[in-house]
């Protein structure tokens, strides 16, 4: 198969997986998702000669950069920042459950939001995209052992945040107390 045919096959196979990846990071706003995904595949097309046999982690890596660029200021900066700020506020208003109640979605997101972007991404790739360490390494552009170590650290920090929220959730209180997030070391 030519590069173009390989690219087309990867596009058809992974279009929706890449859409889910982007949607998970933009709170599923469909119109934004479609726009970013189009950008992802445009970049991937330009780099199609690099497309590996296991294309999906590589496409996630491209998507990660596109999201990052979009947020930094290539075109959609203001709109995205506005939306992200809006979503933060919206998410905050939904936090009503303590970690001991079900379902856990909202407060787990809250615990996740207290971590650094790097920690958040390695956790999301593992839990939401269900990638193995080798695939996470491809997305993050690092070695497998570095990815494993990043995941280990991020899990530990997420666990600490969850435990901290459990401590802060006073019995009978409507919401867990929202402490100012601490500065996180990279140890």
């Amino acid at each position: 198969m030519s590069n173009d045919e390989i690219f087309a096959a990867a596009y058809r196979e992974h279009y929706w997986a890449v859409s889910r990846y982007v949607a998970r990071r933009l709170d599923g706003r469909t119109s934004e998702v479609e726009e970013v995904v189009a950008e992802v595949f445009t970049v991937a097309w330009r780099r199609r000669s690099d497309l590996p046999a296991n294309a999906l982690p590589w496409l996630y890596g491209v998507a990660r950069n596109c999201l990052s660029n979009a947020i930094r200021g290539y075109g959609r900066r203001r709109r995205l920042l506005d939306k992200l700020g809006h979503d933060e506020a919206a998410r905050g208003s939904q936090i009503v459950d303590s970690p001991d109640s079900e379902p856990p979605g909202a407060w787990v997101h809250d615990a996740l939001a207290r971590l650094s972007p790097a920690d958040r991404e390695v956790l999301r790739l593992t839990a939401w995209e269900e990638l193995g360490v080798d695939e996470v390494a491809v997305v993050l552009g690092c070695g497998s052992r570095a990815a494993a170590m990043r995941l280990h650290r991020a899990r530990r920090r997420l666990r600490a945040e969850i435990d901290r929220m459990r401590i802060c959730a006073a019995p009978g209180a409507e919401t867990p107390r929202r402490d100012t997030p601490e500065a996180h070391g990279h140890g």
């Binding site: 780099r47 000669s49 570095a146």
Partner: protein
């Protein structure tokens, strides 16, 4: 309570069965975009095979010159953390950056695309009764050619034990292989990118900092992140004198890097060491005392991690960059 990853899985905001994004044939918009991309293609690359073969041979030849011969005893021992030489005088990063600027005035040596790295890293098991980790020494050479193609060659080797068998976890379980055993040999067709780390790093301090910031996709550039992106940069480029001087200045401006004196690195080079303490680890950055070039970066555990069979003092990762 469920483990944190399990909790996170249940909190997936867009599960794979989400009706908006579930797997299915492309919709009209996606199909149209694919057709637009395919119709915009341009013919290119007909000389590829020959150029890649040439590059591969060149890289293998270069590496063969670096490796030693037959072997007897496995080089399995983990390297201990580097220790500053007793009585050595720490040199401030600011002073070293000034030296580097002076040394870079003639612009030599020049920037090279590609890297030559010797690294040691821990391979760990996890869970109750985790085994002690093993240390995997590797040498990696990436070389780019004028046509935009490049080759990557990774071999198992430990320069502290030339010619001795080397441990690897290639393919799963740890085992020993001969010194110089090829772990990876890959050729990549011509490619381009105007984004770091593929884009050429600038030698102006402000522009290099912006380049590193672009490389850092994780929010504000803290010192650990600066060290991470420095590693990423050096895993792609062999800096010239001017880029090294700019990087030394950026490192001098970073917070928390403490000069601890002179060390001899694992390739036998003298360097000035700077330490950054983190929660459970310590980073040691080693710079050439004359040129400010980054020679190495070491991460050492400072606390036991029984879940991974790791003890305080184990070196988690060490990279030594060469020209």
């Amino acid at each position: 309570m469920a483990d944190e990853l399990e909790l996170l899985r249940h909190a997936n905001p867009v599960p794979s069965g989400d009706p908006r994004f579930r797997d299915r044939p492309l919709d009209h918009g996606a199909e149209r975009h694919l057709n637009q991309l395919l119709s915009a293609r341009r013919p290119r690359r007909t000389r590829l095979v020959w150029s890649l073969a040439t590059a591969a041979v060149a890289a293998v030849t270069a590496l063969a010159l670096l490796l030693a011969g037959p072997s007897t005893t496995p080089a399995v021992a983990a390297p201990g953390p580097l220790v500053p030489l007793a009585g050595s005088t720490p040199v401030s990063l600011d002073r070293l950056a000034a030296r580097a600027e002076t040394a870079a005035s003639d612009g030599s040596p020049r920037l090279l695309q590609g890297t030559h790295t010797q690294s040691w890293s821990l391979s760990m098991t996890s869970g109750p009764g985790a085994e002690r980790p093993i240390t995997l020494p590797q040498e990696r050479i990436v070389r780019w050619k004028a046509d935009g193609s490049h080759t990557e060659l990774v071999v198992a080797t430990d320069p502290r034990h030339p010619g001795e068998p080397v441990i690897t976890d290639e393919g799963g379980d740890p085992r020993t292989v001969e010194d110089g055993h090829v772990l990876k040999r890959q050729t990549y067709p011509p490619s381009w990118s105007d984004a770091p780390p593929q884009a050429q790093p600038p030698h102006d301090v402000g522009k290099l900092y912006a380049y590193l910031e672009e490389l850092n996709r994780d929010g504000a550039m803290t010192t650990p992140q600066l060290l991470d992106v420095t590693t990423e940069l050096l895993d792609h480029w062999t800096l010239g004198a001017r880029e090294s001087a700019a990087l030394a200045r950026i490192l001098a401006d970073a917070k928390g890097l403490r000069p601890v004196g002179e060390v001899t690195d694992r390739l036998g080079r003298r360097g000035q060491a700077y330490v950054y303490a983190e929660t459970a680890t310590r980073r040691m950055l080693i710079l050439d005392p004359a040129t400010g070039a980054v020679l190495g970066l070491e991460t050492t555990f400072t606390k036991d991690q029984p879940e991974y069979g790791v003890e305080a003092g184990d070196v988690m990762q060490y990279s030594a960059w060469m020209r």
